[in-house]
């Protein structure tokens, strides 16, 4: 099962990296005379409602989806690690403020909050990344806070403090590395979630804007026309 998963992820990454170089056609080039044509030897997955090659758009869209996933995970993990570590290490009022922020953000279903942010900021790829990062850091912060609360009591942290290490050094060199294994597990799950959320937002017309191809946008177009032109 693990090997199958690795193969699927590896293929998706490979397609995202080499996809734009091996696309048989430009993903934005329109062949209006051939619009909505089914799969043919030339166009393996057919053409969309504007006569653009679907395979080329899917391959190009893979890169966008993976980049969104990667950036969202990096941004939200960085914010989450910082705030979670500070809350867990200092405790008291700082912890109280961070924890209440987490509680409030967790009170919203994640995608709903992303929809809300994109609705006010305007639909675009950058705003999607921003919105998903704003909701994404919460999970990391909660995880890191819990881990830091445990690790900060360990003797090596006490030893570092006794040796004169500054708070910043203790956080960065001793506490954060200790929580990274747990964060990396969360990050792998988070990346899948971010890709799916981006696709959902693009499906609703709130994500990547035309003519840039994305998996969600391609699905939305196909869903709109599938009842009239199923093939």
């Amino acid at each position: 099962m693990t090997r199958a998963g690795a193969i699927i992820v590896g293929m998706a990454v490979l397609l995202a990296v080499v996809g734009p170089f091996i696309t048989p056609f430009d993903p934005s080039t329109q062949q209006l005379a051939l619009r909505l044509e089914g799969p043919t030897p030339t166009h393996w997955l057919g053409l969309d409602e504007l006569g653009r090659d679907v395979l080329s758009r899917v391959l190009t869209g893979a890169r966008i989806s993976l980049v969104v996933g990667l950036v969202v995970v990096c941004v939200s993990a960085t914010i989450g690690i910082m705030l979670g570590a500070i809350a867990g290490y200092f405790g008291g009022r700082v912890d109280e403020i961070v924890s209440r922020m987490i509680d409030i953000l967790l009170a919203f279903p994640g995608l709903l909050l992303a929809i809300a942010f994109v609705a006010v900021l305007g639909p675009s790829l950058v705003n999607v990344v921003l919105a998903l990062s704003i909701i994404g850091w919460v999970g990391y912060a909660r995880l890191v806070r819990g881990q830091v609360l445990r690790v900060r009591e360990l003797e090596y942290v006490l030893a570092a403090r006794a040796a004169g290490a500054t708070t910043g050094r203790i956080l960065l060199r001793h506490l954060v590395p200790a929580v990274l294994p747990a964060v990396s597990v969360q990050a792998t799950l988070g990346m899948g979630g971010a890709i799916l959320s981006e696709a959902s937002l693009s499906f609703l017309g709130l994500g990547v804007q035309p003519p840039t191809p994305s998996w969600g946008r391609c699905s939305a177009t196909a869903a709109r026309i599938c009842s009239t032109r199923p093939t």
Partner: protein, 306 residues
């Protein structure tokens, strides 16, 4: 029990205030002038000023916040910029449709997941188990924005068995409910399998079998009953996913619920309506989580004393 209930309710109040504050802040996050943004770049300054006054954006922030909270307490969410009607009444018209869809999706999820999880646990390690879990994995992996159109294509367009848009009789509900409940069914099937496997290892199940209780009865009446507690909890906690999924499902199947209203309002830049829809969904989510928490305390008394 009353103390436990009171504590849970009190803990919810700051979260609700935070939710209201965040929803209030949304309109102020609009880049530039919110009134200008709502009316578009070509709007004349007089109209922009009038809208600013209508929304109260010309008043100090603290005053705006105070009147927003006071309005919430009275059930006043402002008026829709598109229709001019009160937001509350328009949302109230859509609530039954979303409620109907959410309940139907939960029913689909429960009806599919529990038998699937039981079958997988009882025949653990066999082809039946692998097939059931492969089915569950597919359910988790397939996003509802793909499953919905696929179901519409097969059962609506190709076979012509079911309608693919709008709200009406039970037949209108089938495809949206399956599309929305599919992922939840997959999660609950895995959960049922895992918890039931744990329960089946317990001594009380072996004792029941030793007393002559049939295998079916030992599984269904003894082990499954105990494993239902975490399943019900997860089902409750997943309600948020159902509400968010409803936004997508309602858009796919033109279901006249809150989710569709939200997306339409975003398209029309009707921000008071957007605020109202988001607030309602978030408050419902908090409410369902509270009920789940309390139910957990009722089902498992140990939780109340922690």
């Amino acid at each position: 029990m009353l103390r436990y209930l009171a504590r849970r309710v009190v803990l919810t109040i700051p979260v609700l205030v935070g939710v209201a504050t965040l929803v209030f802040a949304l309109i102020h996050m609009i880049p530039g002038d919110p009134a200008q943004s709502m009316l578009g770049e070509s709007a004349v300054p007089a109209d922009v000023d009038a809208l600013r006054r209508k929304l109260g954006l010309d008043r100090p922030l603290a005053v705006q916040y105070g009147s927003f909270l006071a309005g919430l307490v009275k059930g006043d969410l402002g008026t829709s910029l598109r229709t001019g009607a009160p937001v509350t009444s328009q949302i109230a018209e859509r609530v039954p449709a979303t409620f109907e869809l959410a309940v139907a999706a939960m029913v689909v999820a429960m009806v599919v997941s529990i038998p699937l999880g039981v079958i997988a646990a009882v025949w653990r390690g066999t082809a039946v188990d692998h097939a059931a879990m492969a089915f569950a994995l597919a359910g988790i992996s397939i996003p509802n924005f793909w499953l919905g159109p696929l179901l519409a294509l097969i059962f609506g367009v190709e076979l012509g068995w079911l309608p693919v848009s709008g709200r009406g009789g039970l037949d209108h509900l089938v495809l949206p409910a399956i599309s929305l409940g599919g992922a939840l069914a997959a999660i609950l099937a895995r959960m049922t399998r895992a918890t039931l496997l744990e329960e089946l290892r317990e001594l009380y199940v072996r004792a029941a079998r030793a007393r002559g209780v049939s295998r079916v009865r030992a599984v269904l009446a003894h082990a499954l009953r105990n494993s239902l507690i975490p399943i019900v909890t997860i089902a409750g906690l997943q309600f948020g996913a159902v509400l968010t999924g409803a936004v997508i499902t309602e858009t796919i199947f033109s279901w006249p619920g809150i989710g569709r209203l939200l997306i339409q309002s975003i398209g029309f830049r009707d921000y008071p309506m957007v605020q109202g829809c988001i607030l309602l969904i978030a408050v419902t989510y908090v409410g369902v989580n509270l009920v789940t928490d309390v139910l957990y305390g009722v089902l498992d008394p140990r939780i109340r004393f922690e």
